[in-house]
Symmetry: C2
Subunit: 333 residues, 2 copies
DNA sequence: ACCCGCTCGGTAAACGTTTTCCGAGGATCC
DNA sequence: GGATCCTCGGAAAACGTTTACCGAGCGGGT
């Protein structure tokens, strides 16, 4: 049985002061006599008052909220990113609005529109589709500070924050070449070119292993399993599998092991991302871990910088900017 | 370079009509001459106008938004629930606000307060802690329609939607007794009693296997692995392991297999929840699947019913209500 | 000719805040 | 004792909408 709505007007009346005084007492905007302040506070507590953030945001013309659009929460990497963003933003006094596109470009667009309609301070978007999400990113950029995260789309004037996928592949290649017999075949199990990360990881791999075999599917457990079965069906006995994401790598391992194949003795599997389950696998998956905390902190910095951007022109240019973070190799075996 | 803010006033001026007309043209509240309407629409498009939902919500005194508080997005079951809720609510015209507590009761409380401050239409909460979250649920109930999801707390006047954990355990027990040699030891690997689901599943198990061994940890992959190693260290060779959640079951399997133990030949593992990766495991994990879609639909119904609750007294009582949904057995092996 | 009712545009109030401006009262300084 | 400054409370405007109310125009029924 929800209360009747109680507004600051009720609090003011109950405490016998004006609206202005009540507002100042509650928000501490201006110093005031201790006696009055505590009287207002007491009234607020008694009436179970809670500020209406909509009214506040409307009046103040700012809304300490950032919207995060992710392609799909069922992907543990994105779920983890969301969790980290939530923590980071909350600690800095920003609320996080999350919208999952569920893989649909339309849902993504709708989610971002809802963010903008709610006057979010910034939009952080992990684009669904390198091509089709461009319009949405463009639109968001025209309305609010927009930051692309993890996946980049072409030609949008929005700062990008993500990890250096090429460098990650350098690390993986170096690891393979220094620890494995080069005679072993190296196969890339990646994802189709719908996202910049899929593309960059593939390109990074091809640069180090020109002519090597590549198998492309989606960023999912299911694809890893399918790829494993395909390899087994073909009679491949022994190889180093480089997965474009941990979730694929886990699928590969599951698929291989369920057919009695030993990992890492027969097949070696290497991942990318550094999600939690990878570390818990036995033996732990060798992967390159994205510095998620650093990237979130970087996004927070961008948001904060824009917050203080009340003197236009005096701060960082609003143009495109690319912030790459270096992943680190995490050796499991 | 974000636009100057463009309001409906600008659109009205540009189209040469009054605010009221502009508003009516855009929202279609009242029929009007086609010529005027299209002129307003054209102006809005040209100016790249987008409605300010804060102003609208303030005026209309309703905000088609529901807030969802989850304990931890890194748990794939909750991530999946979130994904489903997002889809369900979006399709019905409600926006979903997500807050992850990251396991912290304080963060949970803060998130819910933020929801309420934003005048959400309803709060859906998966409580972090059966005891400590009670206050938060109570508070939410006093301010808005509040629905407890999956985990219940004591004595809060909020409707509960979740699956029938006892019945799920009935299904599992029946499955075990009809398909396995009863001589095999049955062990429960669950989670501590911080949540109603952990408790109910444990109690359901104990009812069917009185005196059987129970090991309690957390709802996590790590705990599954730890438990597996503990069993191996103790020299257990052969048993049926009933996990309180798929995520624990997957940890068990991973832990067992990495020591060369065959599943399901040596150890049989059964899960609970029906998350995606369980189905993709090889062989697929036997588990009971929670009817997530039905539960989300049920929540939507509750939210909608309350939406139409403009004639107070004529509709469903706002009192406590418990909606149990029956999970279904999904046989992997 | 008159009135009724309908259509459709505008004016202004309202939603819950914050904040600017004003003014009353008191202290301080010459 | 007056001028000046500071402190602190209140009245009212503003944020961007929607919507209740009003009124003008007009067609049609008696």
């Amino acid at each position: 049985m929800p209360d009747k709505r109680v507004t600051i007007k009720d609090v003011a009346a109950h405490a016998g002061v004006s609206l202005a005084t009540a507002s100042r007492a509650l928000s501490g905007t201006r110093p005031m006599s201790e006696e009055l302040r505590s009287r207002v506070m007491a009234s607020a507590a008694e009436l179970n008052y809670q500020v209406n953030l909509l009214g506040r945001a409307l009046r103040q013309q700012r809304h300490p909220v950032v919207g995060l659009s992710v392609p799909d929460l069922e992907n543990p990497f994105f779920a983890s990113l969301t969790e980290h963003m939530s923590r980071t933003m909350r600690a800095a006094g920003f609320e996080l609005l999350v919208s999952s596109a569920g893989g649909s470009v339309e849902a993504e667009a709708e989610g971002v529109r809802a963010f903008l309609g709610r006057q979010v301070h910034a939009v952080v978007i992990i684009a669904c589709d390198e091509a089709q999400s461009a319009e949405t990113v463009q639109f968001a950029s025209s309305k609010a500070l927009t930051i692309q995260f993890d996946r980049r789309v072409e030609g949008a004037p929005a700062t990008f924050v993500g990890c250096d996928n090429r460098y990650g592949m350098d690390l993986i290649a170096e690891h393979i070449l220094t620890t494995a017999p080069p005679a072993k075949e190296v196969i890339f199990v990646g994802a189709g070119a719908k996202s910049s990360s899929a593309r960059e990881r593939l390109q990074g791999f091809e640069q180090h292993f020109p002519g090597a075999r590549t198998m492309l599917g989606t960023f999912s457990l299911a694809w890893g399993i399918t790829a494993a079965e395909q390899l087994i069906a073909e009679g491949t006995h022994n190889a180093t599998l480089v997965a474009a994401a941990d979730i694929i790598a886990l699928g590969l391992i599951s698929g291989l092991r369920s057919h009695g194949i030993r990992v890492p003795e027969d097949f070696r599997v290497i991942g990318f991302d550094g999600i939690g389950p990878a570390a818990f696998a036995h033996p732990p998956l060798t992967t390159v871990r994205q510095p998620v905390e650093d990237m979130c902190a970087s996004i927070l910095d961008l948001v904060r910088a824009d917050s203080n951007d009340l003197d236009p022109g005096a701060s960082s240019p609003h143009g495109k900017q690319v912030l790459h973070y270096e992943p680190k190799l995490v050796c499991g075996t």
